[in-house]
């Protein structure tokens, strides 16, 4: 994985967030992806979301598997620790890291090969554990890094660069996440920053597993005529169901929308998300409705996007495990080792 250090150019009048940091403080090293790759837009959206939320960069933890998508953890938040592990196994690493320290902000980046083929089981089980993290699947319907093989999200009939149609049925990660009980499920498009940034912000605020499937065209291997993951095809089929607005703590909800079309949702730290619904009858807290809606769109050849489902109050891994407030990795030796006298007593039970 190549990375090039970015030249640091000081631009005098950059916006500063509540921490007094600029957007540049959230950037990473220079991307080495192909020019126009959807993944780079996602990186930009993440950087933006972090800046907007004024999160301290070094309190974030970036994790990824292997693939072009997984490389991108090097391209944002250079002040945060990153873990670029093995193919498809980031969810396990994230689970372990999170188990050891619940106070950091976890972002996992993966690809459709990483998450839906080799790492399908890992993704499913991280969802089941409800690990508190933002999980971004950068979905291009192809294995980018190994040069263009079909992936498990390639649609039937979608054509490879050489013109061969894919025959095996796709796994829809959003439908899957919904059925597995994910507590935050969204779909977006790398080319729609307006939609993507607030979704990332909401995902970062959500306590529990925030799953975001981002359609992210591979310009080199899957952006041609006949592909269902090309910029043109996605733009044509994109149908936004629920738009996300984001109101940090204490700010007022703006009332620029029709009554009934905005649904406020308060997440665990008191932050309010407001969900702007295209269809007034849509309820993003109703899992079966989300699932049905998704299917309906799919049958019409449309791709439903937006924050499709959110469960406001769910117990994450730590709430379930009932771990102490102090992160496990910070516990003192004295608080962990029972000592000589306790061992002496215990031995009596084994005589």
């Amino acid at each position: 994985m190549t990375s090039i250090t970015k030249p640091r150019i000081r631009i005098p009048k950059l916006d500063r967030n509540a921490l007094g940091l600029t957007r540049m403080d959230y950037e990473g090293s220079m991307s080495t992806l192909c020019a126009g790759c959807g993944h780079d837009s996602i990186t930009a959206a993440l950087t933006h979301a972090f800046f907007e939320l004024a999160l301290p960069p070094h309190r974030a933890v970036k994790l990824s598997g292997i693939g072009c998508s997984s490389k991108t953890t090097a391209y944002f938040l250079s002040q945060a620790h990153g873990f670029n592990g093995v193919h498809g196994r980031m969810p396990a690493v994230a689970s372990g890291a999170n188990a050891a320290h619940q106070e950091l902000t976890y972002i996992g980046i993966s690809g459709d090969g990483d998450s839906l083929s080799i790492g399908l089981g890992q993704l499913c089980h991280a969802i089941r554990r409800n690990v508190n993290m933002l999980y971004v699947l950068e979905n291009n319907g192809v294995y980018g890094l190994t040069k263009g093989q079909f992936s498990a999200s390639s649609d039937v009939g979608s054509k490879s660069k050489k013109g061969e149609p894919n025959q095996d049925g796709p796994i829809d990660p959003v439908a899957m996440a919904l059925t597995l009980g994910a507590t935050f499920v969204a779909r977006s498009f790398s080319g729609d920053k307006e939609q993507l940034v607030p979704i990332m912000m909401a995902g970062l605020r959500h306590r529990g597993f925030a799953f975001v499937d981002v359609l992210s065209p591979c310009v080199t291997f899957n952006d041609h005529e006949g592909s269902t993951k090309s910029y043109t095809f996605i733009r044509k089929s994109n149908s936004e169901v629920v738009g996300t607005g984001f109101v940090p703590i204490q700010e007022q909800i703006s009332t620029q929308y029709e009554p009934g079309s905005v649904r406020p949702v308060t997440v665990h730290d008191g932050t309010t998300l407001y969900l702007r619904k295209v269809d007034a009858s849509y309820d993003p807290t109703d899992r079966s409705m989300a699932y049905a809606y998704l299917k309906e769109h799919q049958d019409r050849g449309e791709i439903a996007t937006g924050l499709l489902y959110i469960q406001e109050d769910s117990a994450d891994l730590h709430a379930r495990e009932k771990t102490v407030a102090t992160p496990l990795r910070d516990l003192t030796f004295e608080s962990l080792c029972p000592g000589a006298a306790a061992l002496e007593d215990l031995m009596d039970e084994y005589i």
Binding site: H58, H81, A97, A100, H101, Q122, L328, A340, L343
Partner: protein, 629 residues
């Protein structure tokens, strides 16, 4: 081993506190509690005893055996020679009858007559109508089956002289909250005892005689003591996927955490994650170790296979983590409930590419505890995966071991971890820079400081942690890893070396082979054949190992696997000439016994040595392998 070796009557006094017997039952019928009761009762009489389970990979209905050995000298390795068989399973009568030493005894249930074909003239049959007695005494069918198995403990008590007050006391401890069960169990024990007293020729020459009450020894299995070691080492994250024979490590860790790591309000100073597979278990442990928690997983050979990719990552990216491998019989699923030392090679070099790992080899549950604590220190000090390689025999059988003690002055070694203040002192931080010249670079933990942030990758990296495809950048790091492991060698647990005056050969072993090897050395010694002992406790091998090997001309390397894996490691990792290492191998799935060792060693010594002491050669090997080996 059938009873065809020469035997006959042995002097009566030598049979006191020196015999072995085997109980044959059907699994899932409560025999485990009866066997545990007998083992504990003997232990509480102060008599050295071991109990080994030979059990099927099944939940209910298949044959299972429990082997008890009593030995006043403390030789407690498995012996395949049984003086007495308790035959409670008609389906294995034939095997069981054949196993008894000539002159031995068979205790069986004569509720139904024994087939004529099962009658041997050189053994004594002792019959108790267990089933009939239980039908008379107990009501429910399940209770009748269970109580039949408790009743044999009573009959045995009368025959070999179990102290019945101790038995009663143990039942009271077990059923302190279930008075009804206590009574029915005691009635069953008493019933067996009384019947044997009145109808059989009690006591037998194989006798228990109370020794000094011994509160300095306990009975514990290795998986419990590993769990205890994890508690004392301060491990907080355990991840696992169930597999025999490793499962009880996490079961015990869970039990001990409830007791020692749970606050009154229910909040926990630990997290135990049952993963979806061993791959994920390894990933969780690597993630937690990177985050700065002491993390471990416990598994067996098949699990190690699945963990290999993560093991390689942890080795190369330098993440502390501890793996417990409780070995079972391979290859593949093999015999999951039988023991072997067959993962030595796969652990030493686990994962692709150039990798080599620290591995520790405890010989018994006491050492499991010590080496577990050491494993966590070593993992953090050297920022690398550390394996504790145990096996089914150590892990799942109760061993008589000295009481474990703890030194309150001990403090964990977290290795080189830079905190915020230390980072502030630096111009810049480079993750893989060898500042101290010992091959160990300092690490930082996530969330502490922006200055310490680095990007961990399994792909090629240079000393700064930056992506590297350049010859120098890559090679410098992998060469340093070699230096790091060199430094580690001197920090690993020393081998156990026993030099004896006039030794003519060296016996080399590791792990659970220890007991059988010591016994073999003892027996050979009593015949004038003197051997030195080398028990290796860690890989990579230290200088001492190499030196001792160089001192000897005749060297036996004991392996509990078919291919002599330990020997291969010695050949590969030391300068010793391959032909000098003679292989002693046992791999049937049962624990090693001194018989196996002597059988291999004796003919070689026989042909090599010029015996002045007529002792050894005049003796027929069978003599040395006498009934109580």
């Amino acid at each position: 081993m059938t009873g065809t070796d020469e035997g006959g009557d042995l002097p009566t006094e030598s049979r006191v506190n020196d015999f072995a017997f085997r109980v044959a039952t059907v699994n899932g019928t409560g025999s485990a509690s009866a066997n545990g009761l007998i083992l504990k009762a003997i232990h509480r009489m102060g008599v050295p005893v071991s109990g080994k389970n030979v059990f099927p990979s099944n939940i209910q209905g298949l044959p299972t055996w429990y082997e008890l050995r009593v030995n006043r000298k403390g030789h407690l390795a498995r012996t395949p020679k049984f003086d007495l068989i308790v035959a409670m399973n008609p389906s294995t009568y034939a095997v069981d009858v054949a196993e008894v030493q000539p002159g031995g005894w068979i205790l069986y249930d004569d509720s139904w007559p024994l087939s004529k074909t099962l009658i041997r003239s050189d053994v004594t049959y002792l019959s108790v109508p267990f089933a009939r007695l239980c039908v008379d005494k107990f009501a429910g069918s399940r209770e009748r089956v269970l109580m039949k198995n408790i009743a044999y403990a009573g009959a045995l008590g009368a025959l070999i002289g179990l102290d019945m007050d101790i038995v009663r006391g143990l039942l009271e401890e077990t059923f302190s909250r279930k008075k009804a069960l206590l009574e029915s169990n005691y009635v069953a024990v008493k019933m067996g005892y009384d019947y044997a007293r009145t109808h059989l020729d009690c006591p037998l020459p194989i006798q228990l005689d109370k020794m000094e009450p011994d509160s300095r020894h306990i009975l514990m299995d290795g998986n419990t003591s590993i769990a205890l070691g994890c508690i004392y080492a301060g491990a907080t994250v355990g991840a696992w996927y169930p597999i025999t024979p490793a499962t009880s490590v996490m079961d015990n860790f869970t039990m001990l955490c409830k007791r020692f790591r749970t606050d009154p309000d229910g909040s926990k100073r630990f997290a135990i994650l049952q993963a979806e597979d061993e791959l994920a278990a390894a990933g969780i442990v690597v993630g937690a170790g990177w985050m700065g928690a002491r993390a471990f997983t416990s598994t067996a050979g098949p699990g190690i296979d699945l963990m290999c990719e993560f093991i390689g990552l942890a080795y190369y990216a330098e993440v502390p983590c501890v793996f417990f491998d409780i070995q079972r019989t391979g290859p593949s699923t093999g015999m999951p409930t039988r023991t072997q030392q067959a993962d030595l090679l796969s652990v030493a070099y686990a994962s692709h590419g150039d990798t080599k790992h620290i591995a520790l080899f405890p010989a018994d549950p006491e050492e499991c505890f010590r080496l577990t604590v050491e494993a966590f220190d070593l993992a953090e000090r050297f920022q690398t995966p550390v394996f504790v390689v145990s096996d089914l025999d150590i892990g799942m059988n109760d061993w008589r071991i000295p009481r474990m003690t703890w030194d309150d002055d001990y403090f964990w070694d977290r290795g080189k971890v830079l905190d915020e203040a230390e980072l502030a002192e630096l111009d810049s931080f480079s993750r893989y820079l060898d500042v101290d010249g010992d091959g160990i670079a300092a690490r930082t933990l996530p969330g502490v400081s922006a200055k310490g942030a680095y990007f961990l990758r399994g792909s090629g990296h240079d000393k700064h942690g930056e992506y590297a495809e350049s010859e120098d950048g890559y090679q410098e790091v992998v060469d340093r890893l070699v230096r790091k492991l060199e430094t580690a060698k001197s920090a690993l647990p020393d081998p156990v070396i026993e030099r004896r005056e006039g030794a003519s050969a060296l016996l080399v072993c590791l792990g659970s082979s220890d007991g059988a090897c010591r016994e073999a050395i003892d027996l050979l010694g009593s015949r004038g054949l003197v051997l030195d002992l080398l028990r290796v406790r860690a890989f990579p091998f230290s200088r001492d190992v190499e030196e001792l090997l160089a001192e000897h001309e005749i060297i036996f390397v004991v392996d509990q696997n078919r291919d002599g894996q330990f020997r291969s490691l010695l050949v590969n990792e030391t300068g010793i000439e391959k032909s000098k290492l003679r292989s002693v191998r046992h791999y049937s799935g049962t624990p090693l016994s001194a018989v196996h060792v002597i059988k291999e060693v004796l003919p070689v010594l026989d042909s090599h040595l010029d015996h002045t002491a007529e002792a050894s050669l005049s003796a027929h090997p069978a003599d040395l392998l006498g009934s109580r080996v």
